[in-house]
């Protein structure tokens, strides 16, 4: 026992730290290879494109990281993206931008509350709970929109679309928003008492409870944050495509979970770093962008992302050993 502790104490932390930076190393290598393979990769247009693609996913993944650290799981975020985008668009047509945006985000927050309460109060497994709400909310989206995109004509306020187009400091608002959200969520997760409570709840629920932490409330809060951010992502997407799409967000939940895994967070909870999840997002986005530029068929892109995911999970097992 003493030997093992000493072994861990002398050499392991620095080595482990290095292994823990594998996602960053992988991303940098990926960027280098991509820019060597295609001259277009580092062009201003493509960089903006990559950042735009990463923006929506980053916002969703930040919420997912919270839920996973709290020991949970959220499969419903993709459906929330669709529902919130449609609700925002429908509301906006009648009442204007601000009520529309708030309605979209509110729908996300509400679905987070729903998930949180089912998981904590009814004690249903998070996988089953959010699988159910994923299907349920997709159904609701189809019902409220009649399975058609809203609105069909360009009746959305023009300024709504500006959000995705207008630039500050050379980049669209759409790219700056995730940066802002990340800054706030990073501080909340890694520098506050709330953050410690969240990690403790996911790391050892019983111990957290005996330390006086309201574990159910903490868990619910993570689902609410995740749902709210999925709502924000839905509104962002609606702004970008200038409509509410009832079929939007399909598979986003799995991509977000993949990004969290690529970032090295533990799926059983209590472990993870927010910035690493974001690195995970960009590994996926840059990889598919680079393969696009190299004219690799999208089916092969899926194969590639699957392989990267397995490699990342295997490397993580190695690190924990």
């Amino acid at each position: 026992m003493k030997a093992e502790a000493a072994r861990a104490g002398v050499s392991a932390p620095s080595f482990n730290w290095l292994l823990g930076q594998m996602p960053l190393v992988a991303l940098v290598l990926l960027i280098i290879v991509a820019s060597l393979l295609s001259g277009r990769f580092l062009s201003g247009i493509n960089i903006t494109n990559v950042l735009m693609q990463g923006a929506v996913l980053t916002v969703i993944t930040i919420g997912m990281t919270y839920v996973i650290i709290a020991g949970g799981f959220d499969l419903s975020v993709g459906s929330v993206v669709a529902l919130s985008g449609c609700v925002a668009a429908m509301t906006m047509v009648d009442y204007g931008i601000v009520p529309g945006v708030l309605a979209g985000i509110g729908v996300g927050a509400l679905s987070g509350v729903l998930n949180g309460l089912i998981v904590t109060k009814l004690g249903v497994n998070p996988f089953i709970t959010t699988l159910a709400t994923m299907v349920l909310l997709r159904g609701v989206t189809m019902l409220v929109t009649g399975a058609r995109q809203v609105p069909i004509e360009e009746s959305l306020p023009a300024t709504f679309n500006d959000f995705a187009l207008e630039r500050v400091l050379g980049l669209p608002y759409m790219v700056w928003l995730p940066v802002l959200i990340f800054a706030v969520c990073h501080w909340l997760l890694h520098h506050t008492a709330y953050g410690i409570r969240l990690f403790a709840t996911g790391g050892n629920r019983d111990a957290a409870f005996l330390a006086g932490i309201p574990v159910d409330r903490i868990k619910t809060s993570a689902y609410v944050l995740c749902g709210t951010l999925a709502g924000v992502a839905g509104v962002m997407l609606a702004s970008r495509v200038q409509s509410g799409q009832p079929t939007a967000g399909v598979l986003y939940e799995l991509t977000a979970i993949a990004a969290v895994v690529l970032g090295g967070a533990a799926l059983h909870g209590g472990d993870g770093k927010l910035y690493k999840s974001v690195i995970g997002v960009f590994i996926i986005v840059v990889l598919s962008n680079a393969l696009n530029l190299a004219n690799v068929h999208s089916y092969w892109q899926q194969v590639a992302i699957g392989l990267v995911l397995i490699a990342a999970a295997a490397a993580d097992r190695l690190r924990r050993r």
Binding site: M1, K2, R7, H191, A211, G212
Partner: protein, 496 residues
């Protein structure tokens, strides 16, 4: 020795980065011998077991089985050679039956319809029943293991060892979670195996048990064999002295506290009329004695607001309601639960584990005063001698004794007035145990009140001012310091 040992380590050494875990260790078990292996945590017991069981290979020296040198590449090879390790954590498959668990790895098969390979359930039950019978165990082979308690699961593992034709049985802390009657049954099984010529290695912190069962006892300290004691020389004080390298007198303390003001008063639903109300005073340690399942754990959990129902009792003259641990913590009541795994978050750092229940005092709603936290944590780590002295170290990298000190540190950080301690020295070595005892005395001396539950009668008697005895959820006796304050009286009350 005239007979070849069933297993022998000759001059083995094992080094891990930075530490010599074992250094020139000789250890031999004769057929039909119970050989105890004792030492403080970190003395090298686990490493030696892992060498014998094929988990590690020695850096130098050799392992001999039945007189022939062997080099195991993995535990499976050791198992095939008849060396079976029963770890502290019992590994059985709860959803399978007793028979399936006993024969796991060598399940009898038959040909269904003459061709299809199928498990032969009848043969399985018969073989399992035969093995269980050899151990004099009355377990139904068809029972699912999830319905068995810890003690029975352990016996299922031993029956499995028989199925593997064990020549050497290594029991790692087998009695840590057993109550007195179950320990007796385990010892009966061990004696039966001994009579059949099996060599048994018995690793334990409980020295009275070592003395009861062992034929010889090897004492390890800092990776070396200090002494091999024959049965006739087995004596608790002598063993402790060899293990710690210190005199027992240094570890003993006189009892000289004078209890102060009444702090806490609570009622028992299940108790004789004269025992209905119990109280704890400042500077007082009230012991709670009881065997596993006697209700002492439930009583402490309930007082802490972690029980099935909300608690109501008198604290500092005021009747209070405790609905959750948060309420108890607010009233400066702390709980050290029986299982360390229920108290600590292994992935968080030592610092975070210490501040966890005190966050509401150390942080605003959102902002954490890291400067204040750091100063507090460093002071506590010095005071309690938590090693290594690194607040940023993940908790899982600390030894059991140091982890337990972290649980204490968090309540001292929270300036607790009452500490509820459930088996606080369970599974930690004698040095760390003495340290925890000192902490308890210091806490009480400063005006704190302690309720201490322990299944070790001598421990609870030595530290407490008063002892409450519980049996099957009922409070059955109260012993105040005086003429009747003896282990005999308490054991009689516990019915053990």
């Amino acid at each position: 020795m005239s007979v070849e040992p069933v297993i022998e380590a000759r001059g083995v050494a094992k080094r891990f980065t930075g530490t010599q875990a074992l250094d020139d260790v000789a250890f031999a078990v004769a057929p039909g011998e119970v050989h105890a292996l004792v030492g403080e945590n970190g003395a090298g017991k686990s490493t030696l077991i892992k060498l014998l069981g094929g988990v590690y290979a020695p850096d130098s020296g050799e392992i001999r089985v039945g007189g022939a040198p062997r080099r195991f590449r993995d535990p499976a090879e050791a198992l095939a050679a008849g060396i079976v390790v029963i770890p502290q954590e019992i590994r059985v498959v709860p959803a399978l039956t007793v028979a399936e668990n006993v024969l796991l790895g060598r399940l009898p098969t038959r040909r269904a319809l003459g061709v299809l390979p199928a498990a032969d359930r009848r043969a399985m039950r018969a073989q399992a029943a035969e093995l269980l019978g050899r151990l004099n165990l009355e377990l139904d082979p068809r029972e699912r293991v999830e319905r068995l308690g810890h003690a029975e699961r352990q016996l299922v593992m031993i029956a499995r060892a028989l199925a593997h034709r064990a020549q050497v049985l290594i029991l790692d802390e087998p009695t840590a979670s057993l109550e007195a009657r179950e320990v007796e049954r385990l010892f009966a099984v061990a004696r039966g195996l001994k009579a059949k010529g099996v060599g048994i290695v018995f690793v334990s912190h409980r020295l009275d048990e070592v003395i009861a069962i062992a034929d010889r006892c090897t004492v390890l300290r800092d990776g070396r064999v200090v002494e091999v004691l024959p049965r006739t020389a087995l004596e608790v004080e002598r063993i402790i002295q060899l293990m710690t390298g210190r005199d027992l007198a240094e570890l003993r303390h006189p009892h000289d506290r004078v209890p102060g003001e009444l702090l806490m008063e609570f009622e028992h639903a299940a108790a004789a009329p004269a025992l209905r109300t119990s109280s704890v005073r400042e500077r007082e340690v009230v012991g709670l004695a009881g065997l596993l399942g006697s209700g002492t754990t439930e009583l402490l959990q309930n007082l802490f607001g972690a029980g099935a129902t909300r608690a109501s009792y008198v604290l500092k003259g005021e009747r209070i309601e405790i609905a959750s641990p948060a309420d108890a913590i607010e009233r400066r009541i702390g709980l050290v639960p029986g299982e360390r795994s229920a108290a600590l978050v292994p992935g968080l750092t030592v610092r975070e584990n210490i501040v966890l229940p005190n966050l509401h005092r150390l942080a605003g709603t959102w902002r954490l005063d890291t400067g204040k936290v750091d100063k507090l944590v460093r002071t506590l780590m010095d005071d309690l001698d938590i090693r290594p002295r690194d607040p940023g170290r993940p908790l899982r990298e600390l030894s059991g004794g140091n982890q337990q000190k972290v649980v204490f540190a968090r309540w001292i950080a929270g300036e607790a007035a009452v500490l509820l301690l459930d088996e606080p020295t369970h599974g930690i070595d004698i040095g760390a145990k003495a340290h925890i005892h000192r902490l308890m005395r210091a806490f009480a001396a400063k005006g704190g009140a302690i309720m201490l539950s322990s299944s070790e009668v001598n421990e609870v008697m030595a530290i407490s001012d008063r002892v409450l005895a519980m049996r099957q959820g009922r409070l059955v006796a109260r012993l105040d310091r005086g003429a009747d304050y003896t282990e005999g009286t308490l054991r009689k009350a516990l019915g053990g």
